[in-house]
């Protein structure tokens, strides 16, 4: 969190983390598409020719002034593929809250778990820990036939019992609920430590 007292700006960094093709970029694309253009900046995507995120996506959103203060939210995604491990690590620098986008398809369970462990490891290096860090899980692709049951996903992935949301990011379902929840958690987290 970065507070600029002179401008009364509060800046938060939210990172969307998750395995490859789980829908992190799709979340940001939906937010960018739906929000009033006066509240959102450009969505920048660093992609390969094959449309896969190579480094990150970035977008800043605002909600106007609140009690004279101007909160700004910087949203980032990380590349999901295993071999971009170091890119994922650097994007986490200065992170305030995380959305873990899990893929609901049964054959992606291992990838979900592996990425969650990767996240835990990267956070640890920065002195954070998943059990008291503000983060939420989004179970994406709920519309796909054969999607894993929520209680199975919960049991395998949500071992810290963080807020969780079902989503179909391509249709925008669950996208804003997830974002709102993580922002609220970050703000609560700051307040509880004042």
């Amino acid at each position: 969190m970065f507070i600029n007292w002179a401008l009364q700006e509060i800046n938060l960094k939210i990172v969307y983390y998750g395995p490859g093709m789980s829908g992190k970029t799709t979340n940001l694309e939906h937010i960018h598409q739906k929000l009033d253009p006066s509240l959102t900046g450009d969505l920048v995507s660093l992609k390969t020719k094959e449309d896969r995120t190579i480094f990150f996506d970035f977008m800043q959103i605002e909600v106007g002034r609140i009690k004279g203060k101007k909160p700004k939210f910087n949203l980032y995604t990380v590349p999901g593929q295993v071999y971009y491990a170091s890119s994922r690590k650097v994007i986490l620098n200065g992170v305030d809250g995380i959305v873990f986008v899990a893929d609901s398809q049964p054959h992606r369970m291992e990838a979900n778990i592996e990425t969650l462990l990767d996240l835990e490891g990267n956070l640890k290096q920065d002195g954070h820990s998943l059990d008291n860090f503000p983060w939420v899980i989004q179970y994406n692709k709920r519309d796909l036939p054969g999607a894993e049951a929520i209680d199975v996903l919960q049991k395998r992935l949500n071992f810290f019992d963080v807020p969780n949301f079902e989503a179909v990011a391509v249709k925008g379902e669950g996208v804003f609920d997830t974002l709102k929840a993580v922002i609220n958690l970050v703000v609560q987290n700051v307040q509880s430590q004042l």
Binding site: V63, I66, N93, N184, V187, N189
Partner: protein, 169 residues
């Protein structure tokens, strides 16, 4: 010193006071005048733009700061891979019309100088070095203590919740 707090969960909270912001902006203005740089940005390593000077209209400086921070982060990983123990201190991107010079300011901040190719790199280096010293001094000076409790109170979170509801309708 910039007010930096480490929260229990390990996250970092950085607060820049009004006085520090004024000094930073003054240093950037001076640097812009002396170097005739097209644009100068001061940002923190997480990608957050703090202050800017020069003709930045039409330039998306929010995104530029985020990309520049990632540039730093990526090259410091590169430094490790090639056996350089310290981080690379400066990055230089050479274009046909414009060049970009990036240099760190302490551990947590950096400076981006965008300048025309007609301006010599030597000139940019000399004045940027001086500006970095001034910025470091400004950041180390103890500013007035700022009470962030007054910034983020419970009222604030309720109102923010409402604003998010409105925005995300």
């Amino acid at each position: 010193m910039v007010q930096t707090k480490k929260l229990k969960d390990g996250s970092r909270q950085v607060i820049l006071t009004g006085k520090q912001y004024d000094v930073i902006t003054k240093v950037l203005s001076e640097l812009a005048t002396k170097t005739k740089a097209s644009a100068i940005l001061f940002a923190d390593m997480s990608g957050q733009l703090i202050s800017q000077r020069g003709s930045t209209e039409g330039m998306n400086t929010t995104v530029l700061s985020a990309l520049a921070a990632s540039d730093f982060a990526a090259t410091s990983e590169m430094a490790k891979l090639v056996g350089e123990e310290a981080k690379f201190k400066l990055l230089f991107h050479e274009g046909e019309k414009r060049n970009v010079y990036l240099s760190n300011v302490g551990e947590s901040f950096f400076l981006v100088v965008v300048f025309d190719v007609s301006v010599t790199l030597g000139l940019i280096r000399i004045y940027t070095k001086k500006a970095i010293e001034d910025l470091n001094t400004a950041l180390e000076e103890s500013g007035e203590e700022v009470d962030e409790g007054s910034m983020i109170d419970s009222d604030f979170s309720t109102l923010l919740g409402n604003a998010l509801d409105d925005t995300f309708k």
